[in-house]
């Protein structure tokens, strides 16, 4: 018996209806742990080169980790993966909430979906009873509306993921929605669900998960919560959540503003964590097992309408607030709500909309093409574009592919400021003064996403300080961060540690935000699974997974290599227009030097391809 795991992998062909529940292979658990590891291995082994991301042969893998659903801080995470329609390569996204634990209580570590249903359908998993239910009445329904309908229909004890109209219309940055405000936002997993005609997956699990040493695991889990309760950040960080970092990011000159023309927003105090608490907050909303809920559920009143909405989280503040220049937190929250209903990733959506606004300012696209004039700072224009994108109507049909294909279609030099890597839009940290963070975005397997390595704190402080400590210290006088020396090692280290949380099925924020120590995970992992693994040994598994996702990109992206690892030319050629980093940028020569060092340390050739020796050394095939 695999302790800690539910024990089964459920494979469903949503076209034929065939379902198979196989035992979770012990060697898969041993070598890849779970979560992101399961996603990467199953995708690599199962998808043939040349597969259409939006065709029936693509897979959606939904995986929990060995620690998901157990008594320990942050055990509510679920990992999603697919051949990404945004990048054509490795795509994954991580989500909090309660879905993953429910999947394990139903008996499954992992759900693998393939094929395509003929009509819009919902998958209902009620422990070992599985149905694919055709339901076209949900067509076009907002992601939150659909969840409410299904909750009322199936019962409160079902945990549900849904997609919105954007997913149904296969927008490249459509997101999966859950629990009225948690999302698996990145890399377009929801577009793949949409291509399979799957509007929702609902799961009820009433069983238990086998634990190697239940008493010991309980005692350790209880102790872990009490360690969290005693951290200073438990009281200072939790009330504001991820939005607490907004003004710090602005202060250090890394806050994306006006489609990343600048890295400083004068209006940051109106859209920061304090503004969320003062103007929106109804209740804190936690994921399963979370002692430090970053979810801030609130109510926003705007001229366009009023809405209940979870958030905005920092990333939504950065892209919808900073990059689109929405200067009031209520407006950011309302745009966030519109994205949530339409089922659009707020990160990519904010970057795509701000890209369109700059294109219009520069005359690359015109009023006739857009259907109206648009400008930074207009909530009305933001919502107009979001709705066009989700419906794939007019200009929205072009923008629905993301900034990379849109800039290719628009031309006029717009590639310069199409802010992405590998086709995935950049998340909320401007990096022209942060070479470590820049390298993090350049080399992330999924494209320009921060969660693989958040090196900004190291760029600024040259230390491993957690976020609550960084905020407390402020920007200080340590602004000379333009030297790339020593950054590569730190980025590589973070690219192993942060994804490890996604592999174990837990939240990294207790460690990253309030300084919870990793040694506790070693101990509880052994008590739950019966397997002794040091954190360093787990990191080695995470390192192997990093090599595997790189190989996935090599396998699936024609001509993949070094040219896919650069940021947009804006960051290498254009000075920041205002704020503490005004005038700064990072020349391509510096980035090339960092890439050379990075590739060498990774065991990749000068084109960024893992060498045969490296592949062999990691035992990959």
């Amino acid at each position: 018996m695999l302790h800690g795991y539910a024990g089964k992998i459920l494979k469903i062909n949503v076209g034929s209806g065939k379902q198979v529940a196989e035992n979770t292979p012990p060697e898969l658990a041993e070598q890849y742990l779970g979560g992101r590891g399961f996603v990467a291995r199953l995708l690599y082994d199962s998808i043939e080169p040349g597969t259409d991301p939006l065709g029936p042969a693509n897979l959606v893998v939904i995986a929990t980790g060995p620690l998901s659903g157990h008594l320990l801080p942050g055990s509510g995470k679920t990992h999603f993966g697919t051949l990404s329609p945004a990048t054509g390569g490795y795509g994954d996204s991580n989500m909090g909430g309660h879905f993953g634990p429910a999947l394990k209580y139903a008996g499954y570590d992992c759900l693998v979906l393939e094929g395509a249903a003929e009509k819009l359908s919902t998958i209902v998993i009620d422990n070992d009873k599985i149905e694919i239910v055709e339901d076209e009445t949900l067509q076009g329904k907002g992601a939150l509306v659909a969840e409410k309908i299904l909750k009322e229909r199936l019962g409160e004890d079902f945990q549900i993921i849904t997609i919105g109209p954007a997913g149904e219309n296969k927008v490249a940055f459509a997101c999966i929605s859950h629990d009225f405000g948690r999302q698996a936002g990145r890399t377009g997993v929801a577009a793949v669900l949409g291509s399979k005609n799957i509007k929702a997956v609902a799961v009820r699990g009433t069983g238990s998960i086998p634990v190697y040493n239940a008493k010991g695991a309980q005692q350790k889990g209880e102790a872990m919560y009490k360690v969290c309760f005693a951290k200073p950040g438990f009281k200072t960080w939790t009330p504001y959540g991820t939005a607490s970092i907004t003004s710090w990011v602005n202060e250090v000159g890394a806050f994306p503003t006006r489609n990343f023309q600048s890295s400083f927003a004068e209006f940051h105090n109106k859209i920061n964590g304090q503004a969320v608490v003062d103007k929106l907050l109804i209740t804190d909303k936690g994921c399963f097992g979370c002692p430090t809920p970053c979810g801030k559920y609130g109510y926003a009143k705007t001229a366009l309408g009023n809405a209940y909405v979870e958030g905005p989280e920092y990333e939504s503040i950065a892209t919808l607030g900073g990059s689109c220049c929405l200067e009031e937190i209520e407006e950011v929250a309302y745009a966030n709500y519109v994205c949530d209903q339409l089922g659009l990733d707020t990160i990519s959506a904010g970057v795509v909309v701000s890209f369109a606004m700059e294109c219009f300012e520069k005359g690359v696209i015109n009023t006739a093409e857009i259907g109206r004039s648009i400008s930074f700072g207009s909530l009305d224009d933001v919502v107009y574009l979001l709705e066009k994108i989700a419906a794939c109507e007019g200009i929205g049909a072009v923008l629905a592919g993301g900034v990379k294909p849109a800039s290719a279609a628009f031309g006029g030099g717009s590639e310069q400021y199409a802010i992405h890597v590998k086709g995935l839009e950049w998340s909320g940290y401007e990096c022209r003064n942060a070479p470590g963070m820049m390298l993090s975005y350049m080399t992330a397997d999924v494209g320009a996403h921060h969660n693989r390595s958040w090196a900004l704190g190291y760029d600024i402080s040259q230390s491993d300080a957690d976020v609550s400590e960084l905020i407390k210290a402020g920007a200080g006088g340590k602004m000379d961060v333009s030297s790339p020396e020593g950054k590569v090692d730190h980025v590589i280290s973070m690219q192993h540690s942060r994804p490890l949380y996604d592999t174990l099925g837990i939240c990294r924020l207790q460690t990253m935000e309030i300084g919870f120590e990793t040694v506790h995970y070693e101990e509880v992992f052994e008590l739950i699974t019966g397997r002794k693994l040091s954190w360093a040994e787990m990191l080695a598994i995470s390192e192997k997974i990093w090599q595997l996702t790189r190989l996935f990109n090599v396998k699936h992206i024609d001509g993949f290599g070094r040219s896919w690892d650069y940021p947009p030319r804006r960051f290498m050629e254009e000075p920041v227009t205002s704020g503490p980093n005004e005038g700064r940028y990072i020349k391509k020569e510096i980035l090339d030097k960092m890439l050379d060092e990075y590739y060498e340390k990774r065991g990749w050739d000068s084109n960024g391809i893992p060498t045969p020796e490296t592949i062999k050394a990691y035992g990959l095939k």
């Binding site: 659903g69 008594l71 889990g221 209740t283 979370c290 209940y308």
Partner: protein, 127 residues
């Protein structure tokens, strides 16, 4: 320990429910927890907590008088219980469960939910 709750502090994390089943049944199985949390979303955006306040209705309904008050808490005497489950149906808060063995279970006042709630939303009733 008798419980009281402050629902406006609850964030829906369910830590109380996980530790409840570990403490009482040595299993990770929140569906069997002896308290429940319901999220009211998207509107009005709050949580309701159903919990045992040791009201004693179950004891009053038990035909075998198998549920007895001890120090302001009601405990099931399993030597007397016949698994009729009338108590489970009678619970006004729907927080009694039926175990795999067929026996009912109710809140034992162990206090683990109070000890671990990160939000002080589940508390010991001092009154």
């Amino acid at each position: 320990m008798k419980l009281q709750v402050k629902e406006d502090r609850c964030s829906g994390c369910n830590v109380c429910r996980v530790v409840c089943t570990l403490e009482n049944f040595s299993t990770v199985q929140p569906s069997q927890a002896l308290l429940k949390i319901k999220g009211l979303f998207p509107d009005p955006g709050k949580y309701e907590i159903a919990y045992c306040n040791q009201c004693g209705v179950c004891a009053g309904e038990c035909p075998e008088e198998a549920i007895k008050e001890v120090n302001s808490e009601y405990d099931i005497d399993y030597d007397l219980c016949t698994q009729c489950l009338i108590c489970v149906d009678s619970c006004p808060f729907d927080v009694m469960v039926v175990l795999e063995s067929g026996y009912p279970a109710k809140c034992t006042g162990c206090g683990k939910c109070v000890e671990l709630c990160p939000r002080d939303a589940v508390l010991a009733d001092q009154g």
